[in-house]
């Protein structure tokens, strides 16, 4: 599970360099997210622009990753393609996460 992170504009941006977050990698994703975000104190943005498929297990792992942040820090998401966006909308998880169309847009307030 290839993730990388960088600090940008006061936020931690975690990028997923995989095409799929599904049942076969959900646990690895959750573990890698814990490693990438354990020092985070402010905004955390998960950039999914390289991901073209998630299933409900992948969705669950992203929810778990938000819980790992602790407190009231909501995970933000960017770069959802049409299929990925559909999973968030149908489950109403689009009401839980702050979703930005692109990573650039996450920094335009």
């Amino acid at each position: 599970m290839n993730l990388s992170s960088k600090t940008e504009g006061g936020a931690l941006v975690v990028s997923v360099h995989e095409t799929r977050i599904d049942a076969s990698v959900a646990i690895q994703f959750k573990d890698r997210m814990r490693e990438e975000t354990e020092q985070a104190t402010g905004r955390v943005i998960l950039d999914l622009s390289e991901v073209d498929f998630i299933d409900s297990s992948g969705l669950g792992a992203i929810v778990a990753a938000m819980k790992q942040l602790g407190g009231e820090n909501r995970l933000e998401l960017s770069g959802l393609n049409e299929n990925v966006d559909k999973v968030f909308r149908l489950t109403r998880m689009d009401t839980v996460f702050r979703i930005h169309e692109t990573l650039d847009e996450a920094f335009v307030e």
């Binding site: 599904d22 498929f53 299933d55 409900s56 297990s57 929810v63 938000m66 819980k67 009231e72 149908l90």
Partner: protein
């Protein structure tokens, strides 16, 4: 229990890795020119949820699990059949597919229970039968 004349026919063992491989095979077949206009993303998502459910429940704890998928594209609609040699659905009925409630604190958010809600949101004419020769047969359609 096979129908190898289907437009798309895939056989797999009941493991998460085999499910991923099967879906990647499906995606490759769906990018072929004859299916270029089809609703590939939705078909892939519905099949992912159905197959994950089979692996996690019907075939839980088994190492001899077998799954057969056939998909036929008829009148702008995918007609799909999934068979597995696992245990039958509890109560011989499909799950209700009611999406979990998202109210309350972040710490209380559900991390699962969305699979059948997605299937019921995206698929139509869902029909489940337990066959007397000992396998599950699920049929559904996915319109374009």
């Amino acid at each position: 229990m096979t129908n190898s004349q289907a437009d798309i026919h895939i056989e797999l063992k009941g493991t998460p890795q085999e499910v991923r491989n099967a879906l990647e095979t499906l995606r490759q077949k769906l990018t072929a020119e004859e299916f270029a206009a089809c609703n590939a993303g939705v078909l892939e998502l519905v099949l992912a949820e159905v197959l994950n459910n089979v692996v996690e429940h019907a075939l839980a704890g088994r190492n001899d699990g077998q799954i057969v998928i056939s998909c036929n594209y008829i009148n702008q609609c995918w007609q799909v059949e999934v068979r597995d040699n696992g245990v039958e659905m509890p109560g011989n009925e499909l799950p209700s597919g009611i999406m979990p409630d998202l109210g309350g604190d972040i710490a209380d958010l559900p991390e699962g229970g969305f699979g059948w809600g997605l299937v019921r949101s995206l698929a139509q004419d869902i029909d489940y039968r337990r066959r007397s020769s000992g396998y599950n047969q699920l049929k559904f359609s996915v319109p374009d």
